[in-house]
Amino acid sequence: MGQAIIDLQHLAKKFGDETVLKDINLTVNKGEIVGLIGPSGAGKSTVIKVTLGMEVASGGSAKVFDTTMPNRQLLGRIGYMAQTDALYDALTGKENLVFYGKMKGIEKSQMAAEVEHAAKVVDLTKDLNKRVSGYSGGMMRRLSLAIALLGSPELLVLDEPTVGIDPALRRQIWAELDRIKSEGRSILITTHVMDEAELTDRVALLLDGKVMAFDEPGVLKKQYDVPTIEDVFLKAEGVE
């Protein structure tokens, strides 16, 4: 176990009278990929929002890089990819990358190299000068991921990054995620694709605003006595 990059302790979040998160305990260590799975409305996006400091915790603590969130400066060390593509349609792929790069505070001298690298990972190099309005859904998703990768952030927070992406490219992206991990960088990823959950180091199963289980995929499968993570998910949800 390395140093905890994300450290959520007894995290609770209420919106008005509605309690979305009850008691979340979640850690992401240095050089680790943590998967966050759970049905829609379980509070995955809220966990991410609190982690990024978009929302403030109603109870418990949310620390990233040992600093209580929200903290604006820390955001420069986090690469975030939202569920929506969040791109500027009127701009080209490259202009989108450069704009977000500037917002992240990437130096001018490194900008070209960063943009090139990020585009290469998601296989968009030859489409960079096209307007985003002419992109296919998959291309937009890839560009969105590329934006998160800009500036080699120490922590990546990816919300459903592989929706609408071809299997071949998905494999390529996971290879990149593994490479990032081997560099000692950390990743928090939410997913609906259960075989992707198997690829993570640890999986947190979020249900009803609580973390039902949080362990390595293998351990979870043994614990629930099922062959796949999908079954763990279903069993925890009480469908079976």
């Binding site: 403030v56 604006r72 955001l75 420069g76 202009e95 917002m103 992240k104």
Partner: protein, 406 residues
């Protein structure tokens, strides 16, 4: 740095949206052209007239006319000052027997009202003069007749002595007397209908109602388009998630607001220039003051509109809901902008104008275009607009907290 990057991005997006751009620049031109053709009507308005060296009687006659207030001034300089300060709409000055009328002419309907009132008053007062003049000329005629009779008698008496030569002299004499009396009659006629000279501070006798609308229309277009397009732009950022993503970077909330201000400020300047050029060259509207001042005021108004648009866009969930602000925010501004004379409204209604940004820019631009007022003398209007701007900007920066808590 980030502010500039945001500005560049917003400008890039704007300039690639050719249709919106065309709307921003062509629609105002088209509407102004149409309005210049359509608006030539006059309505009853209240006018204040200043008089210098005019008889009590004329003053009284003018004052008794509906919608006309008369104030007499001791000197032409005092009256001129009042005219410049917009306290009165016209000056009537008597020079000997003639009248010199000076109109502010910033509102052609007022100029027309003054002209009419003056004519009526003059007619009423001169009736007496006419009467006395008539008596005089009647007397003169009687005198003439008496002279003629006397001459005829003379002629008859002298006919026996020197017939031919005397007759010629008498005829000449009679002709001379006749000429004198004719002169006299002409003189008395000129006394009853004095010569009236008209002077216009702004424009000329052809200045129409449209001229008064131009400064306000200019501001209206700037306000309308900047409000709507900036509001839509931020709304789009919010609904597509780019705002969230932007806020997931270390960018300051204020940088986002300033970036928007800079880009839309530039756009507003270009728009103002286009509108000003169209009004000056195409419609032939006279601009007395400094064009740069006009652009500066409109820039300030555009920034207020931008801040307003961004603020209200947070209360809209779709572009259609943003459109719903038009009747709520834009239309009332038109009513109180000064396009419709405020002095004809009930006082509690016209007080609403004090919270309407368009009124202040309208007043200021009006003063610059029509009276040539220096921008440094418009501190009041500018200060109020700045107040709007600062308050709305702070609200916006604080308001973005809804999307990121730091």
């Amino acid at each position: 740095m980030r502010t500039i990057a945001i500005m560049n991005r917003v400008l890039k997006e704007l300039f690639r949206d050719k249709r919106t751009l065309a709307l921003m620049f062509l629609a105002p031109v088209l509407v102004m052209l149409l309005m210049s053709v359509i608006f030539n009507t006059n309505s009853s308005t209240n006018v204040n007239v200043g008089t210098v060296a005019v008889t009590q009687k004329l003053n009284k006659e003018m004052g008794s006319i509906k919608h006309v207030d008369v104030k007499s001034y001791d000197s032409k300089a005092d009256a001129n000052k009042a005219l410049k300060d917009d306290k009165i709409d016209a000056i009537i000055k008597k020079n000997g027997k003639n009248f010199s009328l000076t109109y502010a002419n910033t509102d052609s309907s007022k100029t027309a009202a003054v002209k009419l009132a003056f004519k009526n008053a003059l007619t009423a007062t001169s009736i007496d003069q006419l009467k006395s003049a008539l008596k005089k000329s009647t007397k003169a005629t009687v005198k003439l007749q008496a002279q003629l009779i006397a001459m005829q008698k003379q002629q008859a008496a002298a006919s026996s002595a020197s017939q031919t030569a005397g007759a010629t002299t008498a005829t000449q004499k009679a002709a001379a007397t006749k000429a004198t009396s004719t002169n006299h009659a002409t003189k008395s006629t000129s006394q009853t209908t004095p010569k009236i000279t008209n002077h216009y501070v702004y424009g000329d006798k052809d200045t129409g109602f449209f001229a008064k609308m131009v400064p306000i229309l200019m501001g209206f277009f700037v306000f309308f388009f900047v409000f709507l397009i900036s509001g839509m732009a931020l709304l789009k950022e919010r609904t597509t998630g780019t705002l969230d993503r932007l806020l997931a970077t270390p960018v300051k909330r204020s940088s986002i607001v300033y970036g928007y201000m800079l880009s839309y400020g530039i756009l507003a300047v270009i728009q103002t220039i286009v509108i000003v050029l169209v009004t000056v060259w195409l419609l032939g509207i006279e601009v007395v003051g400094n064009l740069v001042s006009v652009i500066l005021i409109n820039l300030l108004l555009a920034l207020v509109a931008l801040a307003f648009g961004i603020l209200l866009s947070t209360f809209a969930n779709s572009e259609f809901q943003m459109m719903q602000f038009i009747p709520l925010v834009i239309i009332p501004q038109v009513f109180f902008s000064g396009l419709i004379p405020l002095d004809s409204m009930a006082s509690w209604v016209s007080d609403i104008a004090y919270i309407i940004p368009l009124k202040y820019s309208g007043d200021a631009v009006n003063a610059i275009i029509m009276r040539g007022t220096s921008i440094f003398d418009l501190g009041g209007d500018i200060l109020v607009l700045l107040g709007f701007l600062v308050a709305l900007t702070i609200l916006n920066i604080v308001g973005l907290r809804r999307y990121r808590k730091v």
